[in-house]
């Protein structure tokens, strides 16, 4: 790791490196964690970060990148809102000869580098766990994220891939819980009315919804009989896994994504060689390996 | 006097009911060209409803309207206006944010295809000419909302007569006008008559009716009573037809004696509106405020009542200097105000008669934190009986009352707040003769009880008939204080026109 001082001298004299960062949503705990790590890392490296929140709007994200380009930042880190819709931003940055790094997920337009994980994979891991727990047979319900968003589409895709391999697992219903705990809780309550004891497992596209489902199932006295698995491994979810109410969650390494993204950005900005692709693997979290993740 | 004696408009069997209650029952009317045909009736008799049916704002339940050979019964306003009927509405119907000229030509812009071009310059010029012909000094480019009620009413008139209509309906066109403007209107009407235009004229002012109308049709409780030539009738017989009984004299004798001084204003001014006004009002006394339109009478009343702020001067109530910041303060200190603009300041349209009438005195009906419906209802009932308010029930929304009855509701509300001083701004505007006499009687009852009354009126007979003293204003300055004995129409006009 180059020290901050050497970095300054290597640049155009006294100027600090400036990196523009646009994040999917600062209201999402996981994204906040990635961002916190980036901020920490940037401070250590002595570079300046301009962090903006795209508030889940691809249009806004494209505009923010345009603004970065106008400000002549040295590199851009983009946590894309959408696979396709955020792509023009990549094209624009590259056209302006500014390296642009995708963090967490990737746009369809090839960025300078990608640091993150494949959302499809996380759902595969989660669904596989459910299928194995059910012994390849049973009824499940699936809670989708906000319809049409990249994460929802990919997680749904991964889950369905696995479901195809288990013809005896029946998908009773899937509905959106809009990433939201309260909405998911209401949805689960309604499903309990609708399907009752038929439900053997719940797969939720994120932990918030998973925890909402857990709450509804617990209230209905059904939690012992239903497996609930979700994605993200937020602290609440880890606690729930510890208590045994949430059966499993899928850990995505925010720290690594954040720090690797900064590393890559610095290298790219300085014109040094860098990894085009850094894949941070997902890990299934259950009671058995929980201690590794609890801090 | 008409050019052609053929009937231009024939109405028969017209019936209209609102939620099962008949507002108009089998009414008929035949209108000749060049005729001024008055439609008379008490408040709530159904006159406005009748006119709204004619102009197509309401659809009749049954009946027939034949205009110029066409059956208009099923037509809408848009078509009827085009066919040549126009109307001055009792409720001034203007778009406040548009200019005077834009209001006058609304719906009749040079070409009324939705996508055609506007020519505001031409409209403004035409409106300017029109207003000038009518002897009005209103800027055609002024926004409608910046005009006084009287000015708005004149604009409404200008709008109706500029439509080149064959029939013009005038529903209380003079309710907000002073005498000289009424004279202007009559000049216009006579001019229209000679051109063969027929006019349906509604007013509660008897002298106007006899001055202008050729024929009179009377309605009572929604029913057709009679149609007579104006020459066959006099005020007394007309009133009898309208109310179905004989009526006493209009102005009752005053018997109240002057008591303590209630209100005293010293050198009050309000920038650009009025300046250096000083007067007193005593218990049991009626002080009349006279002046031409725009003299500033309303502004003085509003300032005393706390609706507007004073720039200088002092107000004493019962000998004590007061600082009234809002109507809330004024009411608490015993002042009541009946505004000339009843739609804007008078009532809450969607609330019931009961809820409107108790609005300023609501705490009187509260026990243990809750409003007691029984007490509220009893009070309302007796006030409705006292003022002879005609409504289907206490629960009827005030917006559906006839104009005169709305006015009575407002007066009722003010009276219930137990004022020491009542300011009545054009209190009989739009009120029928019967009710007028009742309101005068009421004013005397108030003074008899020791309440002080300030009455603003543009009707000189009313000022002369009711006031103990008359304060005359001209352009925001007080020009005379006349005692009852001294006051005559000529004197008042003289001082009102002082520069």
């Amino acid at each position: 790791n180059p020290s901050p001082s050497s970095e300054k001298s290597e640049g155009d004299g006294s100027k600090k490196l400036v990196v523009g960062v646009t994040m999917l949503s600062m209201q999402n705990e996981f994204i906040v964690n990635v961002n916190d790590e980036m901020t920490k890392k940037a401070q250590e490296a002595g570079i300046e970060l301009i962090t903006v929140d795209a508030e889940r709007s691809a249009l806004k994200q494209v505009e923010q990148v345009e603004s970065f380009i106008a400000q002549k930042v040295d590199a851009i880190i983009m946590n894309p809102c959408e696979v396709e819709a955020s792509s023009p931003a990549v094209a624009k940055a590259l056209a302006a000869k500014i390296p642009i790094i995708n963090v967490n997920s990737e746009t369809s337009a090839k960025p300078s580098a990608f640091v993150g994980s494949d959302d499809v994979e996380s759902a595969r891991i989660a669904m596989k766990y459910i299928a194995e727990r059910l012994g390849g047979k049973g009824n499940i319900v699936m809670m989708d994220g906000y319809m049409g968003q990249a994460a929802q589409l990919k997680r749904e895709q991964g889950a369905r891939e696995i479901l195809k391999q288990y013809p005896n697992i029946k998908l009773l219903a899937n509905q959106t819980g809009e990433w939201d705990r309260a909405k998911a809780m209401s949805l689960m309550e309604n499903w309990i009315q609708s399907f009752g004891p038929q439900i053997n497992a719940v797969f939720a596209h994120n932990d918030e919804m998973g925890l909402g489902a857990v709450k509804a199932l617990t209230d209905a006295g059904m939690k012992d009989k239903v497996i609930v698995v979700s994605i993200d491994a937020i602290p609440d979810a880890l606690q729930a896994v510890k208590k045994g109410t949430l059966d499993a969650t899928v850990f995505q390494n925010a720290e690594q994504q954040g720090s690797k993204a900064i590393d890559t950005a610095i290298k790219a900005a300085k014109g040094q060689p860098y990894e085009k692709q850094t894949l941070v693997p997902f890990q299934l979290v259950t009671k058995d390996n929980l201690s590794k993740f609890l801090k | 006097m008409g050019v052609d004696q053929a009937y231009i408009l024939r109405v028969s069997g017209l019936t209209k009911s609102f939620s099962g209650v008949k507002a108009l029952d089998n009414v008929q009317l035949s209108l000749k060209q060049g005729e001024v045909h008055a439609v008379m009736g008490e408040n709530g008799a159904g006159k406005s409803t009748f006119m709204k049916l004619l102009i197509g704002l309401l659809k009749p339940d049954s009946g027939e309207i034949i205009f110029d050979g066409n059956d208009l019964t099923a037509s809408n306003v848009h078509d009827i206006l085009k066919k040549g009927i126009s109307m001055i509405h009792q409720e001034i119907l203007a778009v406040p944010e548009l200019t005077v000229a834009q209001n006058i030509f609304l719906g009749r812009e040079t070409k009324t295809n939705l996508f055609s071009w506007l020519n505001d310059r031409e409209i403004t010029q035409q409106a300017g000419q029109l207003l000038e012909q009518m002897g009005l000094h209103i800027q055609p480019t002024a926004k409608m909302k910046s005009l006084s009620v009287a000015e708005r009413q004149m604009v409404e008139i200008a709008k109706a007569i500029s439509n080149n209509a064959k029939v013009i309906i005038m529903d209380e066109p003079t309710s907000a006008l002073a005498d000289h403007e009424v004279a202007t209107l009559f000049g216009i009407i006579n001019d229209l008559k000679t051109k063969g235009v027929a006019i349906i004229y509604i007013s509660h002012k008897m002298d106007e009716i006899f001055a202008i109308s050729d024929t009179i049709t009377v309605l009572r409780d929604g029913k057709y009573i009679a149609t007579k030539a104006a020459s066959e009738l006099d005020a007394r017989s007309l009133i009898t037809l309208m109310v179905g009984r004989e009526l006493d004299t209009l102005f009752p004798d005053t018997v109240s004696k002057k008591g303590e001084e209630i209100l005293s204003v010293k050198d009050i001014s309000s920038a650009g509106k009025f300046s250096d006004i000083s007067f007193t009002v005593h218990a049991g006394e009626v002080l009349g405020l006279a002046g031409l339109m725009g003299a500033g009478r309303t502004e003085i009343a509003r300032a005393i009542f706390g609706l507007d702020r004073l720039t200088s001067g002092e107000i004493y109530l019962n000998g004590q200097k007061t600082d009234i910041q809002s109507p809330h303060d004024a009411i608490r200190q015993g002042i009541g105000y009946v505004s000339e603009d009843r739609k804007a300041f008078g009532f809450i349209p969607r609330l019931s008669v009961r809820h409107n009438i108790t609005l300023s005195s609501l705490p009187q009906h509260v026990r243990g934190g809750f409003i007691q419906p029984k007490s509220e209802s009893a009070t309302t009932e007796s006030m409705m009986a006292d003022l002879r308010i005609k409504a289907s029930s206490q629960q009827q929304q005030v917006t559906f009352l006839s104009g005169g009855n709305q006015q009575k509701v407002i007066i009722g509300k003010v009276l219930l707040s137990n004022p020491d001083l009542v300011i009545l701004d054009e209190p009989t505007r739009g009120i029928d003769v019967g009710a007028k006499a009742e309101i005068y009687k009421l004013i005397n009852q108030l003074t008899a009880k020791g309440i002080a009354v300030i009455m603003i009126s543009s009707e000189l007979p009313e000022i002369l008939g009711m006031s103990d003293r008359v304060l005359v204003l001209s352009k925001g300055k007080q020009t005379a204080m006349l005692s009852r004995a001294d006051a005559t129409q000529e004197m008042i006009m003289h001082y009102a026109m002082q520069p």
Partner: protein
């Protein structure tokens, strides 16, 4: 008909029809019943005590918000910040609700006070400036969301005490606390609106502000109280939501303002002020809740759920407005 001269004073307004109209929205009630009957015939899962309790529970938080916003809309205003208030008050309450720290009254009060304060600030800006309530509360909506994120550092505040979680998640004699609270507040708000001076003044201010002022009503006072009350109800909703999902979330309540306003307006509150009832609003909220529950029970695909939901809501209100034959 009576024969007295004053018979016109007592026209049959106090009739059956009028009384029902007084209850709220006659046509809406019919629409509501039709929808419930339809669901009952389609699926046996709908008309069970348990399912009905669940619907009411789910509806309750929106209903509390809708009650608050009903006051505001009747008074001629609007409050877009209620969703953000849910977040702020929820986060504040959660901060004080960790086990073994404070008794449950503390988070409850802290949440309530923050909501009342927030509402009072809305009221203050609206009454002191001439800025339209739409802009003021749109501004405080944004500010409130930011505050909730700042206070919580963008993370959910979890690990709340059992006694706190009981508030919105418990049951008393088998009845969910949320239902009990909803009933109490329904009665309370109805009484305030119908039987108190404040309620009458709210109608008057919304019906004709100028005339209300000229009748001696202190507009600013009434508006302050109304926005503060709305803040208080939003706080309650925020606290109960936090308790129900056992976590204080900075992004809780996003979009709740539209649902609450929709409930009020479906229930017959006019956007131009001056009319509306708490009963109507409750009916509006229940209607939304029943449709949403029914669509889930029938397992209608997400995409089509939205289409059906929108269509039924419009349909119900069309039916309602057709029933009110005249404007009376």
């Amino acid at each position: 008909m009576k024969n007295s001269i004053t018979s016109y004073l007592s026209k049959p307004e106090n009739s059956y029809k009028a009384r029902i109209r007084g209850i709220g929205q006659y046509g809406l009630l019919i629409a509501f019943i039709v929808i419930c009957l339809t669901l009952t015939t389609i699926t046996p899962k709908f008309l069970t005590v348990q399912n009905l309790m669940i619907i009411v529970t789910q509806v309750s938080i929106n209903a509390l918000l809708a009650f608050g916003v009903t006051f505001v809309i009747i008074a001629g205003g609007i409050d877009l910040s209620i969703g953000s208030m849910v977040a702020v008050t929820g986060v504040v309450a959660a901060s004080f609700a960790h086990p073994d720290t404070y008794p449950v009254a503390v988070p409850l009060l802290a949440g309530l006070v923050s909501g009342l304060l927030f509402g009072a600030v809305n009221g203050f800006i609206i009454t002191r400036s001439k800025v339209p309530p739409f802009i003021v509360t749109l501004g405080t909506m944004t500010i409130g969301r930011g505050l909730a994120l700042i206070l919580s550092k963008g993370r959910p505040i979890s690990n709340l005490s059992d006694s706190f979680n009981f508030l919105g998640g418990g049951k008393i004699l088998g009845v969910p606390t949320l239902i009990i609270i909803l009933i109490v507040l329904f009665i309370g708000c109805s009484i305030v609106l119908k039987r108190t001076v404040l309620g009458r003044y709210i109608y008057a201010v919304g019906g004709n502000e100028q005339a209300a002022r000229a009748s001696g009503i202190q507009l600013n006072k009434v508006k302050m109280v109304v926005y503060t009350l709305c803040g208080g109800l939003a706080a309650l909703a925020g606290i109960l939501l936090t308790s129900r999902i056992t976590t204080g979330q900075p992004n809780a309540g996003t979009g709740f303002e539209l649902d609450a306003i929709a409930a009020a307006i479906i229930g017959g509150t006019s956007t131009s002020g001056g009319t509306g009832t708490i009963t109507g609003t409750l009916l509006g909220a229940l209607l939304i809740g029943v449709i949403s529950n029914g669509l889930d029970l029938l397992n209608v695909t997400s995409y089509y759920q939205q289409v059906v939901m929108g269509a039924i809501i419009i349909g119900a209100v069309v039916l309602d407005s057709m029933n009110q034959t005249n404007k009376g």
